[in-house]
Amino acid sequence: MIPSTGTETRDDSSGLGTDLVLRASNVSVEYAGSRPTRAVREVSLELRRGEVLGIVGESGCGKSTFAYALTRMLRPPARMTAGVVEYYGRDGEVIDLAALSGDRLREFRWNKISMVFQSAMNALNPVTGIGSQMDDIFRTHRPGMDKAARRARAGQLLEMVGIDPRRLRSFPHELSGGMRQRVVIAMALALEPEIVVMDEPTTALDVLVQREILDEVERLRAELGFSVVFITHDLALLLEISDRLAVMYAGQVVEYAPAEQVATEPLHPYTRGLLRSFPDLRGQRREMHGIPGNPPDLREALVGCPFAPRCESVFEPCREITPPLRAPAGGWPVACHLHDPAHDDYSSEGGR
């Protein structure tokens, strides 16, 4: 059932397979239209308990779409055309998310997986107080709680993210961007879910606020032990906070590795390009270039490696054969012909 890339990934997961909490296999998502956008293409990833899984990639490469697929939040025109997303409970139960519907789906949501949306600022209803919005969560999922208990819990949550509980009565527009972001994070943690998907939770904030929020997330994760899927295009940031890292390009995962290793020896030329795109705050001043060219149009059918047109080490097979996500010996999965033993002769000169 599970396609080869998925299997390989799991084999590679150094004995932590039993600790799985979420597994996406071969997920593809399409936006309907006269020319459908294939925004996510056969992506397979797994998330372990307590882990921070970073997803990085250029704007528009399908990160958010994939996050929505993970949480079953896709709505028309988006449609999951293939793949399975499975949740592995603590008690060993396995739930296929696609099979959930109605009340069971609602129950599952937020209890098991919660999400911090990209542009979390807009994830709050502007016309109701934040207290009432937090209240809604408890009312729906914890019908046994009485009013006082709900209030107390909401206050507690706010305090946890460093906001005065008296702010419960405030409206979203009365809070600063950073505060709103923290409210949204507090909400995501309200039910102590096992998985929190964070879609660029700090992109719009300035560095100080961003740092505060990251610290907060880190602290809470240590306390509560949930797993995080952290999405951003800021690779520098991700290297700092994530345990493992998936690099996406044009709807596909092109590299999937432990964070520290990516920082030191990235395999995929795209990852390398990304890493080079960050000016170093304290390092030597040097001539720097981003990755030249533009990402491909996801409405087109892609032949060969999607990164080939922009790749500095492009060689023959890249233009015809789509490289599969496959781990070279002793390495981690990467979708690049350079690291395919079949093309060894080229990889030595193309790599660094």
């Binding site: 704007s59 560095v207 700092e240 390009g273 990304l274 170093d280 001043r285 981003g290 533009n294």
Partner: protein, 357 residues
């Protein structure tokens, strides 16, 4: 002669209820041709207000703006009514700006060519015709938008963010300005496109001898693409100096915080964890939210400052007064200055551990 000299620029916003809010307080600086000055600071510190005031969208309440030696106010307000628009035009021919959001700065109803034709017609002395079209294409090529013919025909929604920002830059260049104000020109862009745009600006600056004001809150790019950095906090400049000096040897506690907060992939995990623990400890010592503290006579940063001390309740000395070495921050370069009591030898020598309140 400086391309732009700003002296004691002060901007007040009128707020609901009639009170005034001082967004920029007695700001002075100069832009030199062929140089980039970076203006950094957290959100809401007044960076955009500076740009808006220089672009004449906002009226300053005090201060002088000299554009190539000519008083901006003189050029317009005191001029004859008949020449008003002409003077305004002259001002804008010399000074152009690039906005933060490339998705908002181009009119969705018009083609790229339209956006570039207008400034050429208004300022370039062009007439409609093939020459104009050629000039448009030249502009597109100068910002690496090729094939120019194709791009010119497109509507903004057909372009990527980076491409749009290039169009916006091309539009600003069309008037052949001497001063370019770039208000967070890359913050909405993808990391790799960011670099492309910044490199482009850098090259144009050199080619055209532009004086560039680069507004950002990204310290790393500020350091790499500018010669000078000015750090703003709550409407006033708290530190300025050559960019390497300011970033590598920040003098003001605020700048230090900023620098420490920037993600740095080269730092090891252990170091990160330790820094995090430090911050957590620090944070616990302050109340949850101090951001809304009142402005009074004292240092504006003191409620967040880890080194706040009693003297901070009085206003720190003005910038030019502090020159030379910066205690505790290593070497100081020429023109590096910060506005903090810590740097004043006459003030209390030991940094206070507790915050002022």
């Amino acid at each position: 002669m400086s391309a732009l000299t700003v002296t004691d620029l002060t901007v007040d916003y009128r707020q609901r209820g009639g009170s005034r809010f001082r967004a920029v307080d007695a700001l002075s600086f100069a832009l030199e041709p062929g140089q980039t000055l970076a203006l950094v600071g957290e959100s809401g510190s007044g960076k955009s207000t500076v740009v808006r005031t220089l672009s004449r969208f906002v009226k300053p309440s005090a201060g002088e703006i000299l554009l190539r030696g000519v008083d901006a106010a003189d050029g317009v307000e005191r001029g004859l009514p008949r020449g008003r628009r002409a003077k305004r035009k002259a001002y804008h021919k010399t000074m152009q700006l690039v906005f933060q959001d490339p998705f908002a700065s181009l009119n969705p109803m018009h083609t790229v060519a339209h956006h570039l034709r207008r400034p050429l017609l208004l300022h370039g002395g062009h007439r409609r015709g093939p020459k104009l079209e050629a000039a448009v294409l030249d502009l597109l090529r100068s910002v690496n938008l090729t094939p120019a013919e194709d791009v010119a025909r497109k509507h903004p929604h057909e372009l990527s963010g980076g491409q749009r920002q290039r169009v916006a830059i091309a539009r600003a260049l069309a008037t052949d300005p001497k001063v370019l104000l770039a208000d967070e020109p890359v913050s909405m862009l993808d990391v790799s496109i960011r670099l492309e745009i910044l490199n482009l600006l850098d090259r144009l600056k050199q080619d055209r001898d532009l004086a560039l004001l680069y507004v950002t809150h990204d310290l790393a790019t500020a350091r790499h693409f500018s010669s000078q950095i000015m750090v703003m906090y709550r409407g006033e400049v708290v530190e300025r100096g050559p960019s390497d000096q300011v970033i590598l040897h920040p003098a003001h506690p605020y700048t230090r915080m900023l620098a420490a907060a920037a993600p740095d992939p080269t730092v090891s995990r252990a170091a990160l964890a330790e820094a995090r623990a430090q911050r957590a400890a620090l944070r616990d010592t302050r109340a949850a939210e101090h951001r809304e503290s009142v402005l009074d006579q004292g240092c504006r940063f003191r409620s967040r400052c880890p080194f706040a001390m009693p003297v901070c309740a009085t206003r720190p000395p003005d910038l030019p007064a502090v020159k030379g070495s910066v205690p505790g921050a290593g070497a100081g370069g020429a023109g590096h200055a910060a506005r903090c009591w810590l740097l004043d030898e006459s003030a209390a020598a030991a940094p206070a551990a507790d915050s002022a309140d």
